[in-house]
Amino acid sequence: MKNKQSNKKVIFTLHDFGKTKSINDGIIYSMEHPNNIATQYSLMPNGLASSEAAKYAKAHPEHSFDLCITFTDFAPLSKGHKTLTDKSGNFLKADTVKWDFSVLDKYDDREVENEIAAQYEWFLKKVGRKPSALTTQKSEHGDPKILVPFADLAKSEGLPIRAPAWEWFGNYAAQSYVEDLGLKSSTNLFVATKDWKGKNGFSLEEDTDNIIDAIRTAPGISEILALVGFVDKELLELSSVSWHRGEYINLLVRKPEILLMFTETFNFINFKDLK
């Protein structure tokens, strides 16, 4: 077996499982593809196709599925809340262009706690086991309003968490908070979405060397987060991230040697390995 070039541990996550049917199809296609290098899958509980995603997760315990808690997309699962939603019954929308999440200011602390519990209960019921970790869809747990009850749940359930980044970058107070609680976590995130390159993201294909160099020198456990999926009309209308989700699939099929560069350099793990 070829020696790894680095001892660095890396988690490679496919994100948004459950968001739509076309995303589910793309992620399942990737999971079952012989060139797949992903080790982790983030399952949303309140997406348009979450039930189907949960069914797949239940049938495949060999894969590592985390619970991707959501606070700014789709609708809450809990009842009796007064502060979480707009008139349509969906979560208040954050502005992801300006990365303005001031809507979280409006959320009642108790309702946030109840909603996290409701999303967790959903996972236990639908998947039939605990998630391998807790994460959030847009890293909302980088905000203390979400972080505190989120970390409490992770602690009580003995679960690792994704790094509490903000805008996908480091967030010292949150990271030191979770470390102080004794929670296992990834330490930094690299979002593999081509449209975000130069801002807070990378292209897996065009920035391969840059990502590898950045991960080599980053502390702790790095997580590469890839937004993957097929695209249909429903997704186009729903998400600003559409064609970008094809990059990983394209590499799987046509340029697996690029993905091999990652697996040959680093030790790929998943969140189960952190427990």
């Binding site: 980088g142 972080l147 480091g170 010292y172 107070a173 502390p219």
Partner: protein, 253 residues
């Protein structure tokens, strides 16, 4: 209108720092000075403050100091401190330091800053927020030097400060390194140019005269005289006011 607070840190640390800050206070619009409470030359600094009737005196929290360690405190010292001490332990240390400030100065601080941005950790920040909230004391933006590998961002701490309703600047600007004053001045101007109307910034300065004592006790040594040169440069300061900035105190934010 945009607002700018210029703060001189480390008052009380060394005689040459005290002298440098005194000089800057007399010759520039530096109007906030941050006092180290348990430093060897704190009492001398307070005499200077009394002599010049310095009103805007804040606390520069250290928790650990060179006086107690017998050597300059390092980032690793704080990393270990936060790993080993509980929230309650840190609160006790911070409370003692603030109490000592109030005893020595005779009033509450006009602002709160910290060495190496250590108030960017919740163990200290949570206590400071509770203390400051009752007295409406502004707190420096909690960008920290404690984990440079994670980068500068410290959103969780910043949003906590904001939600507590405490005053803080929108931007924190520091150019501690670099011995070319012209390059540093340009960097300040470029940073300040990013502010929109209605926003505020704090510039951190470390003014001091340079002597052997400073050389032996601080990794930031001759560069402190650069800050004296920059912040007594009337052309540079006029440029800032022409950019639409009001140089003000923390309470005016």
């Amino acid at each position: 209108m945009k607002k700018l607070v210029i703060v001189a840190d480390d008052f009380g640390f060394l005689p040459s720092v005290n002298d440098g800050i005194e000089y800057l206070f007399k010759n520039s619009p530096v109007i906030e000075i941050s006092l180290v409470t348990n430093a060897k030359y704190t009492l001398e600094a307070l005499k200077i403050a009394k002599k010049h009737k310095i009103q805007n005196l804040g606390i520069h929290i250290e928790l650990l100091g060179s006086k107690s360690l017998g050597r300059p405190v390092t980032t690793s010292d704080y990393t270990v401190l936060y790993q080993e001490k509980s929230y309650e332990d840190i609160e006790i240390l911070a409370k003692e330091e603030i109490k000592e400030f109030e005893r020595l100065v005779g009033k509450t601080p006009t602002h709160i800053t910290s060495h190496k941005g250590i108030h960017g950790n919740f163990k200290l920040l949570n206590y400071l927020i509770n203390y400051a909230r009752g007295k409406n004391i502004p707190i420096r933006k909690p960008i920290t030097a404690l984990n440079v590998e994670l980068g500068e961002q410290n959103y969780a701490a910043e949003i906590s400060l904001k939600r507590a309703g405490l005053k803080s600047s929108n931007y924190l600007i520091a150019h501690m390194l670099g011995n070319d004053s012209n390059v540093t001045k340009k960097a300040y101007i470029d940073d300040l140019a990013k502010l929109k109307d209605g926003e505020s910034a704090e510039i951190i300065t470390h003014p001091a005269f340079f002597d052997e004592n400073l050389l032996n006790h601080s990794a930031l040594n001759y560069l402190r005289t650069r800050d004296i040169s920059i912040f007594t440069d009337k052309i540079f300061l006029n440029k800032i006011t022409k950019m639409g900035f009001e140089i003000c105190s923390y309470k005016d934010l």
